[in-house]
């Protein structure tokens, strides 16, 4: 299904802190843009001025079509630089220029695959939406979230049975989601990952060792977000050129990309 990409003013319903430097932004609009696939993203223009200049991409962490045709989407983000700082200052009642839904999302698992959703830090976002979509389709899944320490765990509803991992062992499993998966998953799995570049590289390696399928959401700086500028290039695994994170991804089969490290 081709979902129309639109540019629209999204109303800001909420923009609340959920962890130190993390926020959840809830947006609403009336019509136009289609229902996003989990893994797809929006670009937001965080300031009407020229600095910072570029739109910022954010994956959907939730989406619902509510009564009277109003659409409601959420994203979670980490305040990292000027763009996300300005985003954190947008108040409910205001609006923000949005384009979406963009990119290619997560493919559904095969009937005999166990879905393991591995989120590193703020990479949790698109997996929250995907976990919900899988559950709605009657597909079991396990979400594995990794953060550095218990104090960084977000106050946000996680799917039932979610596994928490902390690097320092202050809560849940001591170690990374990759450590947890390699110790606890034995059957035929389909790994869905979103997180730092080293984490995606580890997931790709692990999936290769276990002959699992892995669908990983890549992060790269983007200018246009629609596939025109070729700025968000990621090297192909076969060395024959590049893929565009925005239009060919952001979700890739782990064997398509050279994840580095």
């Amino acid at each position: 299904m081709i979902v129309p990409v639109k540019q629209f003013e999204a109303r800001i319903i909420d923009n609340r802190p959920i962890a130190p430097s993390w926020r959840e932004l809830i947006l609403s609009w009336d019509e136009g843009a289609g229902v996003p696939t989990p893994g797809q993203f929006l670009t937001l223009r965080v300031s009407p001025y020229s600095d910072p200049l570029l739109r910022r991409p954010f994956a959907f962490s939730g989406f619902a079509s509510t009564i009277n045709e109003t659409l409601r989407a959420s994203i979670i983000y980490q305040i990292r630089g000027k763009g996300t700082h300005l985003l954190s200052e947008l108040a409910p009642g205001g609006s923000v220029d949005a384009i979406g839904p963009l990119g290619k999302g997560f493919p559904l698992p095969e009937a005999d695959e166990e879905s393991i959703l591995a989120g590193g830090g703020i990479g949790l976002g698109p997996l929250l939406y995907f976990a919900k979509a899988l559950a709605a389709a009657g597909r079991k899944n396990v979400l594995v979230l990794g953060v550095r320490s218990a104090s960084l765990l977000p106050s946000i509803e996680l799917p039932a049975g979610a596994i928490l991992c902390t690097d320092d062992g202050s809560s849940g499993f001591r170690g990374t989601p990759v450590d947890w998966i390699s110790r606890n998953v034995s059957g035929k799995a389909h790994i869905y990952g979103c997180g730092s570049a080293p984490m995606l590289a580890s997931l790709s390696r692990l999936a290769g060792e276990k002959s699992w399928k892995a669908s990983l959401s890549a992060e790269q700086w983007m200018a246009c977000g629609v596939g025109a500028c070729m700025g968000c290039a990621l090297p192909k695994s076969d060395g024959a050129g590049y893929m565009r994170a925005c239009a060919d991804g952001p979700v890739f089969d782990s064997t398509e990309i050279n994840w580095g490290v």
């Binding site: 540019q7 200018a223 246009c224 629609v226 596939g227 968000c232 290039a233 024959a240 590049y242």
Partner: protein, 301 residues
């Protein structure tokens, strides 16, 4: 040749289809395609872009599928467009530029009123992101004149030479393009820039340097247009940091006869239609009938 003075700059709009649902391509004056080279070019190593104050650096490296794939896959779509299609051509030798134009001429057929998918060429002699060709041509008036003259022999379609601001005297480069038979010059391509990540002690772009675009370069572009326009009789097309009508009007007052929106489309795809509407209302409010009459309104201080 142009229905209106606002175009979409090469490299920022692909071959038109990427922005299909966001920009009404038929309402614009001209679509300048992503550069076409003789061979398929995968482009430069990543990271290729980095944001800068009121701008961005890119080091894409003329990534494109090559002229044969352009003819097979892109040209049929471009033929359906109602706006003017200007094919941007790049090469690393004079022979490559000539061969690209030759093959496109053969595929597009003779110049007619429209519908061939090719209404002109923009000759990219100003890309800062490739090792050979590009900028090396664009900074040497002798090479510019020779290349333009050779290309003139290949096509009756309008030839626009895209100039670099990375020169001491853009006027002399514009004069060389005019002498070689160019129908117009466009300026500016990007300015060479570099950003260094001081935590990592690495350049932010894999290639080190890149081309600066966006509002940060606008004053440079306006000055280049002003200088180029005083040096030549052929039309000057202005670009560099245009995202609203006020920006475009600076170029038109400086002597440009048309403009291109580039990085501005990344930031706000809807801006291109606003640029056109704003130019029209400015002209109407001041009783200026034609775009080419705007420059006469520039007064000395």
């Amino acid at each position: 040749m142009l229905a209106n003075p606002v175009g979409l700059a090469s490299g920022t709009f692909g071959y038109g289809s990427e922005y299909e649902s966001l920009v009404d391509v038929d309402s614009i004056g001209a679509l300048y395609t992503k550069a076409v080279t003789i061979e398929n070019r995968p482009g430069n190593r990543a990271p290729r872009i980095v944001e800068t104050p009121s701008g961005m650096l890119n080091s894409i490296g003329l990534a494109n599928p090559g002229v044969e794939a352009f003819i097979a896959d892109k040209l049929p779509e471009l033929r359906k467009r109602r706006c003017a299609i200007i094919v941007n051509v790049a090469g690393s030798t004079e022979g490559e530029y000539l061969e690209v134009v030759r093959r496109i001429e053969k595929a597009a057929g003779p110049r007619t009123a429209g519908g061939t998918g090719v209404d002109g060429y923009e000759i990219n002699v100003s890309c800062p992101n490739v090792r050979h060709g590009g900028l090396a041509f664009g900074t040497d008036p002798i090479q510019i004149e020779r290349l333009t003259r050779s290309l003139r022999g290949e096509t009756e379609r309008p030839l626009i030479v895209k100039l670099t601001p990375n020169v001491a005297d853009i006027g002399s480069i514009a004069v060389a393009a005019e002498a070689g038979g160019a129908d117009a010059v466009s300026c500016i391509n990007t300015l060479v820039g570099m950003v260094i990540d001081v935590d990592a002690c690495k350049t932010s772009l894999a290639m080190g340097t890149g081309g600066l675009s966006g509002p940060a370069v606008r004053p440079v572009g306006v000055a280049c247009c002003y200088k180029a326009n005083r040096a030549v009789k052929i039309p000057v097309i202005g670009l560099g940091g245009i995202s609203c009508a006020q920006d475009a009007l600076q170029y038109l007052l400086a002597g440009a006869r048309a403009v291109q929106v580039g990085t501005g489309t990344f930031v706000d795809p809807s801006c291109v239609s606003k640029v056109l509407a704003g130019i029209e209302s400015w002209m109407e409010a001041r009783g200026v009938a034609r775009v080419e009459d705007i420059a006469a309104r520039l007064r000395s201080v």
